[in-house]
């Protein structure tokens, strides 16, 4: 009854190819944007903005990036942490060297740098597939982290080997580093994520997105109808790395404030983002957000329930948290291997028919 297309007639292809052809979907997205930009900053306190919303949004962006590569183009990558590090170090070097450019152009620039690095590490994908490619991208993860630890130029030769974000302002408000206001940071990150989620959706539904999916589903047939594997795969690596690089830049400059490559961008990050897209849904923009939300919010929720609700010892709570999240991942994969986005789609299908079962 609520979610029904009946009566929504499309008189031309432009309407039928709209971003959200069904009116109810449009309302949901508009409502989500109003909540994100109007309600959330009013209602949530600084702790919530800083400790929950920021990582959620930044991981969503990273998951979106990996989803472009793995979900849409079918190339498995375990190099996400390494590519995030590229973005972080790129934005650090740029912030120190060209602070006058402004923060957003620097983030986009560091995304572009990561895109170049990502395409380079995507070259093996032309020859190898599946698990073997995953192992090859794993090499990029270890190589990049090693590089950022060893070569002093990247961290400007400081003694600790850490990079610290210099304070940058936008419209007179500090938006990077620990002195930044959580509210301003939230608006900045939310805007970037919203814009680039739209961009991802547009690319995915156009020619380039279809070529990626063609390579994913049947690469030989794709080649025989004129999709060039070289271009399709490398463009997927480039666009994916662009997103992941921006996520890495925001992760370091806006959220952490300072970072050390071995800790902040290790292999666990790669796995975390991969789990996000598997749980959220491969090949779905919405799924990237759902997966990031699930894996960012679930541990915090569990911790709050255990420590504050039951008064559990915090070390014990941390262990229970890891076990529960692990168990939930397994349950999810068994119950719905196509992820949360698929559950949402099934719910919509049911709503279309409700209250009649057939």
């Amino acid at each position: 009854m609520i979610y029904r297309e009946t009566g929504q007639f499309k008189a031309n292809y432009a309407d039928d190819q709209a971003l959200f052809p069904i009116a109810q979907d449009r309302y949901v997205v508009i409502a989500a944007l109003i909540v994100a930009f109007g309600v959330v900053p009013m209602v949530l306190n600084q702790y919530w903005l800083n400790a929950i919303m920021l990582p959620f949004l930044i991981y969503s962006l990273a998951a979106l990036g990996l989803n472009i590569l793995t979900g849409y183009c079918g190339q498995v990558s375990l190099g996400t942490g390494g590519f995030m590090a590229v973005g972080a170090f790129a934005v650090y070097k740029l912030m120190v060297a060209f602070p006058e450019l402004g923060f957003i152009p620097l983030v986009i620039l560091s995304g572009l740098i990561t895109a170049a690095v990502g395409s380079l590490f995507g070259l093996p994908s032309l020859r190898i597939k599946g698990f073997y490619l995953a192992v090859a991208t794993l090499a990029s993860q270890f190589f990049l982290i090693w590089l950022f630890n060893k070569v002093g130029w990247f961290f400007n030769y400081n003694a600790t080997g850490m990079i610290t974000s210099p304070p940058m302002t936008m419209f007179g408000v500090i938006i990077t580093g620990p002195e930044g206001s959580p509210m301003a940071k939230y608006f900045l990150v939310a805007t970037i994520v919203a814009v680039f989620a739209l961009v991802a959706k547009n690319i995915a539904r156009g020619r380039i997105g279809r070529n990626w999916m063609a390579i994913r589903d049947m690469d030989i047939a794709a080649e025989l109808i004129g999709v060039r594997p070289l271009i399709a795969k490398l463009s997927a690596f480039a666009v994916s790395s662009f997103y992941i690089g921006m996520a890495g830049a925001l992760y370091f400059a806006v959220w952490l404030g300072s970072a050390e490559p071995t800790e902040a961008f290790d292999i666990n990050q790669s796995f975390l983002v991969l789990f996000m897209i598997i749980i959220g849904g491969l090949g779905s923009v919405l799924g990237s957000f759902l997966g990031a939300g699930f894996l960012v919010l679930m541990p915090i929720l569990l911790k709050n329930i255990l420590v504050d609700g039951f008064g559990t010892d915090s070390a014990l709570a941390a262990h229970i948290e890891i076990m529960t999240v692990g168990a939930l991942i397994i349950i999810f994969l068994i119950v719905e291997p196509h992820g949360l986005a698929r559950l949402w789609r099934i719910a919509k299908e049911k709503l279309r028919l409700w209250p009649f079962p057939y």
Binding site: A14, N202, M213, D217, M218
Partner: protein, 262 residues
């Protein structure tokens, strides 16, 4: 059918030889395809028919011989080059993009017609939007032609076999090919579906003027549809000619029915 006027030669293969290691898959194959004709390649299992198609559209690179397509002679070309020169094909085992909808499959078939760069596509405005709509219209014409309007938004992986074959034909047609290679378009179909598919093949040939090279096992279909037939057996060329000639050829009969051993 044989009285039809055929055009100039569009494709000519000369002395093609292809081997995998010591296995000789194709041995000294030569034939031509004329513009606007329906050309069948027949032969028993393992005769090298599919290999021949793979050679034509650049998926296999023959060790010997040359291919002349639209006056350009070459030994081999990359598949995407063949596609951009106007060769499209379907597969024996359906090779659709299973996770995508019928419409997206057909739209992917038009990817060579689309040119806008990633920045316009990211915005989905201006030229990218215009291009998308123009190609959507072309895709819809094919959907109408093949009578698959009802499944345009369905993921193809869930469609029944006969419809998948039809969508695959649609994807190949979307490229507006000059030469269409069909690898067993009627395999595993019942007689009704075969009739539909035969009708589509004739209509494609008639309405779009597409040249068709066809591999098929159903002799009734082959003899009715084709202008000329080439027969392969164990990688060798047994016969080449109009259906009636081929049907009467003793070697062909032997290959299909077997020779009595004394």
């Amino acid at each position: 059918m044989s009285e039809r006027q055929l055009g100039d030669t569009i494709l000519e293969v000369n002395n093609i030889g292809l081997s995998f290691g010591v296995m000789k898959v194709l041995d000294d194959i030569s034939f031509d395809i004329k513009k606007g004709e329906i050309r069948s390649i027949i032969g028993p299992n393992g005769a090298g028919k599919s290999s021949m198609l793979n050679v034509i559209n650049g998926f296999y690179h023959p060790q010997e011989g040359t291919i002349t397509f639209k006056g350009e002679t070459r030994k081999a070309m990359a598949p995407h080059v063949a596609a951009s020169h106007g060769i499209a094909r379907t597969f024996q085992n359906i090779a659709l993009f299973k996770g995508m909808s019928t419409l997206d499959n057909i739209m992917t078939g038009r990817n060579l017609k689309m040119k806008t760069n990633i920045f316009w596509q990211a915005l989905h405005l201006g030229p990218a939007r215009k291009e998308e709509l123009e190609n959507r219209e072309a895709a819809e014409r094919i959907i109408d032609f093949l009578d698959i309007q009802a499944i345009r938004k369905k993921p193809v992986g869930k469609l029944p076999y006969g419809l998948q074959k039809r969508v695959e034909l649609g994807r190949a047609l979307a490229a507006e090919p000059e030469l269409l290679l069909l690898d067993e378009p009627m395999a595993g179909m019942n007689s009704e579906e075969k009739e539909d598919m035969s009708r589509f093949i004739i209509d494609v040939n008639d309405e779009f003027g597409t040249t068709i090279a066809l591999i098929e096992h159903d002799m009734g279909v082959v003899m009715d549809l084709s202008d000329r037939v080439v027969v392969l057996d164990y990688g060798k060329q047994l016969a080449d000619g109009v259906p009636d000639e081929v049907r009467a050829n003793q070697e062909v009969i032997d290959a299909y029915l077997g020779v009595p051993h004394e």
